[in-house]
């Protein structure tokens, strides 16, 4: 098998390598702006420059691997031309629940944003965060009964939210708002 479940898709390889290449070029450019040392031979910019170059080379190799995978995939698709697999869609298992994963990332992003803006107090925000995520995930997981889950989730969310707040603010003297 040229492409099995575990291997990355060619789209992932190509996109990743292009982004990495651009980021490394940017870092290389930034490194050239660093001040030069008067008594040191290699200086502060030496390693960032060397690493950027190494990474650019690696990114090119990954890009070529991605192209090879793409042509191999196209050959397989052509061989199975009558079937629906003729599209260029990857066959890997990139995401089984992409929407849920995206939602979790988005909610976590919102949670951290609200935390940084200090709009809602931590002991109220955290239980809310746990409750929303818990509801969303339980709908997909379908493990156990709703009512039992709800009771445990509420206890869990409030005990954890308030417990963590108390421990960190009172014992470790950390300002959680």
């Amino acid at each position: 098998m040229i492409q099995n479940e575990k291997k990355s898709t060619y789209q992932m390889d190509i996109i990743f390598s292009v982004i990495l290449f651009i980021v490394c070029l940017f870092i290389f450019k930034e490194s050239t702006l660093l001040p030069k040392s008067t008594y040191e031979i290699v200086g502060t910019s030496f390693l960032p420059k060397v690493l950027s170059i190494f990474l650019c080379i690696c990114a090119v190799i990954v890009f070529i691997e991605g192209l090879k995978k793409r042509s191999a995939q196209l050959r397989i698709d052509r061989a199975k031309e009558s079937k629906e697999s003729s599209s260029l869609k990857p066959k890997g298992d990139f995401v089984k629940r992409p929407k849920l994963a995206f939602l979790v990332v988005l909610i976590t992003f919102t949670y951290i944003s609200i935390m940084s803006l200090r709009i809602i107090r931590y002991y109220m925000l955290t239980p809310l965060f746990i409750l929303i995520l818990g509801f969303l995930m339980f709908r997909r997981e379908k493990k156990g009964k709703w009512i039992n889950f709800l009771i445990v989730l509420f206890i869990n969310a409030f005990a954890l939210g308030i417990g963590v707040y108390y421990i960190f603010t009172k014992i470790f003297i950390i300002d959680l708002f």
């Binding site: 960032p48 935390m115 969303l136 493990k143 869990n156």
Partner: protein
């Protein structure tokens, strides 16, 4: 003196500190996103009001517990509770998935115990000569050693060596922002004030291993873990088992102790090298990565052995052998104890108390892990919809608590997404994090070496120890590339045969 120190620990207060330290260490080590480093850092201010001996008893006990506790979630959830147990996920998790979670955890606990005990013997008997030997390491040897470690990490991985190296280089590069280690000037902070100190290790770790794993778990939310009963009996290894694996135990413990002694190279490197050696010495190297008992033994024996190994240079030279011992070094200073060779003569009571704690905490860890693993393992039966939001909360609070700033939380979040993408692009995470940890040591030693040699790289090849490390790195790289090419050729011929 040592026996007296051991007996002293059986009084009420020191024993309480050992018990609470080991227990908290195991719990924190087992909870993904929380690490022993964080626990010890957070406990440090609380020890201000304690007697210095008691403070170090508590902190060393936490260290022992935290390194050991990580194996539970590493085995049952493929989430390493601590970086030291990253390698345990390679075989612990597949073995648990195959229906042997009790056996996997039992092997891990016993290996941790044996590793700790063997290393303790070295801690007590060989501290002075080994410390003298480590003193011979100049910057040339240290850089060559880091280079060798990075190559070994890339070679250990299952997939493409280029992708493993890429991951390692990325780790090195991401550690560059912040204060230059030699000149002290600012570098690559892109005008962001919070970037002055660079990316802190803890948020990076939590992000890479916590957040990315949570996302992976969400993707497979419908995947049910098999309810495999984890029985108490299953966790015990027979004497025959131990006898059969005795060489692996001894070899891994020796590697762990040795790596622990080397400055600032921690349990993760010890377990990686021991794993790599075990894999190459094994009659069945293909089993590694798919639930090999030898893989778990190598990883867990070595990572616990590094604890006592890392304490050797700490008490003999005042040089930390790991991140946690660096924090312990901070504890010495906070308690007005001057670390260094004079510690032996000036604070004998304290030195022997640390040695005694390392022994007793290891025994208590073994008993406590056997007793509590079943309870801790219950987290595998908790619905993910209850567990994952809690893990996310701990990831956020764990990152925030480090420096009390939201920037670290964003760093954790960013590295979490990066970790997820890296895994999807077949880039292993272990080289990334090891590269990140070793970056500063590598750069400092490389630049200092070049400064002392006037820019010449020849001393790297003329100094015997440095040359040995470089030769090992080169041979490893060539051997791995050769093996991969051979495997690819074999795969290709099978594919062609199938086609015919």
């Amino acid at each position: 003196m040592l026996i007296h120190a051991i007996l002293e620990l059986f009084s009420l207060l020191p024993m309480f500190y050992i018990l609470i330290g080991v227990f908290l260490g195991i719990i924190v080590g087992a909870i993904p996103g929380l690490t022993g480093t964080m626990l010890i850092s957070l406990t440090l201010p609380l020890t201000f009001y304690m007697k210095s001996t008691n403070a170090l008893i508590l902190l060393v006990s936490m260290y022992v517990g935290a390194i050991s506790g990580g194996l539970i979630t590493a085995t049952l959830l493929r989430i390493p509770g601590t970086p030291a147990s990253v390698v345990t996920t390679f075989d612990g998790y597949p073995m648990a998935k195959k229906g042997k979670p009790g056996r996997a955890i039992g092997i891990g606990i016993t290996s941790s115990f044996i590793g700790g005990m063997i290393a303790w013997v070295f801690l007590v008997l060989l501290t002075p000569p080994m410390a003298r030997f480590a003193l011979k390491f100049s910057t040339f040897e240290l850089f060559s050693l880091v280079l060798m470690a990075l190559v070994l990490i890339a070679a250990v991985g299952q997939g493409s060596i280029i992708r493993a190296l890429l991951s390692g280089f990325m780790g090195l590069l991401f550690a560059m922002p912040g204060v230059d280690p030699i000149l002290g000037c600012m570098r690559l902070n892109f005008g962001i004030d919070e970037m002055i100190g660079g990316f802190s290790l803890l948020p990076v770790l939590i992000g890479l291993f916590g957040i990315s794993q949570v996302i992976n778990n969400v993707i497979e939310i419908e995947l049910k873990f098999k309810k495999i009963p984890l029985t108490f009996k299953e966790m015990f290894l027979s004497l025959r088992d131990i006898k059969e694996k005795s060489w692996n135990f001894l070899r891994s413990a020796l590697i762990g102790t040795w790596v622990g002694i080397l400055p600032a190279i921690g349990a993760n490197i010890g377990s990686i090298i021991a794993y790599w050696v075990a894999k190459n010495a094994s009659k069945n190297p293909d089993e590694f990565g798919s639930g090999s008992e030898d893989g778990i033994i190598a990883s867990e024996t070595a990572n616990n052995a590094t604890i006592n190994g890392a304490i050797i240079p700490l008490i003999a030279l005042g040089i930390p052998g790991s991140i946690i011992t660096a924090i312990l070094l901070g504890a010495f200073i906070l308690h007005d104890i001057t670390p260094g060779p004079l510690l032996f003569t000036n604070n004998q009571e304290l030195v022997y108390s640390i040695m005694a704690t390392a022994l007793i905490a290891n025994i208590i860890m073994f008993l406590m892990m056997l007793g509590t693993s079943m309870t801790i393992s219950k987290i595998i039966e908790i619905p993910k919809s209850l567990l994952l939001p809690v893990i996310l909360t701990f990831c956020v609070i764990g990152s925030f608590a480090l420096n009390n700033r939201i920037f670290d939380v964003w760093v954790m979040f960013g590295f979490g997404l990066l970790g997820f993408v890296l895994e999807k692009a077949d880039m292993p995470l272990a080289p990334f994090i090891i590269g990140f940890i070793l970056s500063r040591i590598a750069e400092q030693n490389l630049r200092s070496s070049l400064m002392s040699s006037g820019g010449s790289i020849i001393p790297f090849f003329t100094r015997p120890l440095s040359l040995v490390f470089i030769i090992v790195a080169v041979i490893t790289l060539i051997w791995t590339l050769y093996q991969k090419a051979k495997d690819r050729k074999k795969e290709k011929s099978i594919y062609c045969d199938e086609k015919k």
